[in-house]
Symmetry: C2
Subunit: 349 residues, 2 copies
Amino acid sequence: MTQIHYPALDIPRPYGLFIADIRDRLDAKTALGLLEWRPDWCAAQFRFSNDHLDLGLPDLDFAAAAAAGIKTVVVGGAPFGGRLPPEWIAALAEALRAGLNVASGLHDRLHDNELLRKLAAEHGGQLFDIRGSRGLTLPVATGRRRRGKRVLTVGLDCAIGKKFTALMLERQMIARGINATFRASGQTGILISGGGIAIDSVVADFIAGAAELLSPDNVPDHWDVIEGQGSLFHPAYAGVSLGLLHGSQPDAIILCHEAARMHVDGYPDFPLVDIQTGIAQHLELARLTNPDVRCAGISLQLSQLPKADHAAALAAMEDRTGLPCVDPAITGTDRLIDFLLADSGSQRG
Amino acid sequence: MTQIHYPALDIPRPYGLFIADIRDRLDAKTALGLLEWRPDWCAAQFRFSNDHLDLGLPDLDFAAAAAAGIKTVVVGGAPFGGRLPPEWIAALAEALRAGLNVASGLHDRLHDNELLRKLAAEHGGQLFDIRGSRGLTLPVATGRRRRGKRVLTVGLDCAIGKKFTALMLERQMIARGINATFRASGQTGILISGGGIAIDSVVADFIAGAAELLSPDNVPDHWDVIEGQGSLFHPAYAGVSLGLLHGSQPDAIILCHEAARMHVDGYPDFPLVDIQTGIAQHLELARLTNPDVRCAGISLQLSQLPKADHAAALAAMEDRTGLPCVDPAITGTDRLIDFLLADSGSQRG
């Protein structure tokens, strides 16, 4: 009965991942996300030189990629602010000339670039802008409670596991026979799941309304697993996070954290809040649209810690919070799912 | 030294206010705001019939208005969601045919309407879209502390006096010789002051960045008086309010309330929070970008109460909060200004 009220994406595959001049893995979130969750869809990488980030895919030029049957060049990263650098535009123009499609999740829209539009028309290529409302007229949020259950991943910062945690939750819930759907709120999640709304790119008045659209009414035992965005504690993006929190009206939140992260990434003057404050402030604000909201656990990225310390870090976090704590990439999310199921009996269907 | 980094507006005057089929004063915020703060600019009203809201201005048709020297038809209200109804478009087309310009603060842009664009070109009229980024490339917020002082009006709901309070503060601060600038964050404030950014209409990732742009670095004794938007407690618009709060990094907030308002306007399932919770939650969230933020008082709309109860209502609110409480339309804002000046001595210049 899952109704999708927003347009699905249908981007021809396989993909070649456009790395361009990216060097840092943190700047290639979209490429790495696709490669992790949809490895079968990724057949090549396009880099400006061998000095740039290597995903371990074949390095092809655009002509060779087209000859090998690759259909779409997917921009694999997002420069700060979502801008499209001129040298990327020049390269994507070459991709279109080679007969490929181009997909991008940047704020700077491919469709707003005259050269790319012209080349796409001339060479029969398609341009896919993942961000934006994609032609949809977004509603003002109503605040009306919706049927079905919802869990939202939230975080003390950006790039801290919100998408990964939600995708793993969906995968493991479905494996256990639970009726669950991942709801993408960002460009990488949309590319991975083939649908969703990039909440950070809608007009500000419609953030919560877009979030309401993203997780529509459903059957009582269905779980929407909603990908979080930004952080309430981020000096640039907290508005996005709050609108998504309100519009999602989650029955449960999962707080994402990274064991070694001390301050907001790129903002050294903004130390991360402690985990208890993080939970309390999320719940306080979330109660506006769902007074029954609970925190169902912590998703803690351990990759920065020595392996020998992993179990102790998880146990310490469980002691501090009284909540299940997992690293989805290492332990999976079963303990979160157990908690969600045990805790949701009394909630509205 | 006030630097304006965003484009100023230069809309030909005088204005005719476009009321169309609006009946309720609450739906004509832009017209009423202009009439209140810039009466000299408003020379006519355009209504579909005499049954519709009467501002007390001459009722002219567009041809008579053009003959009388009126230059621009200003859309005086915003239908829910900021959409432009077809019958309004038809009327605005007639205005363009009569040789007038058209200005609108709706989310639906005049420039996106092919008919209006065509008629403007044919008849030499100009279209002004107040909302949107107006060609500006918005930055991601940095969180960097800026020089100069800032006061932001916030509210427990929309349409609760945030703009009025800020305009009165600016007027009365300037009258006292204080270096102060009103910073408009919404379409009506922009029309009144001739500049600003409609924060609710920017792409969500840039809310706080736009707010940073709106109140740039200034001399130490300068006050930006920033118009608030929405409410942290509004199920649709809280994201806008939080981004504006963070980007404004206010030294002081003024909390706006209406004595008789019991729930969020149009959302009967959302009772207003009590005033202490409202203050505390604003301050908690505002501390992210300005740890020294204070609440400098309450702006209480008394118009719904009998006149005999006004003084008692203000006194009761002062007792409850320990803060100065005014109705700017009745008492002025001097008590708020006194508090701001007394309280700001220790703050950074």
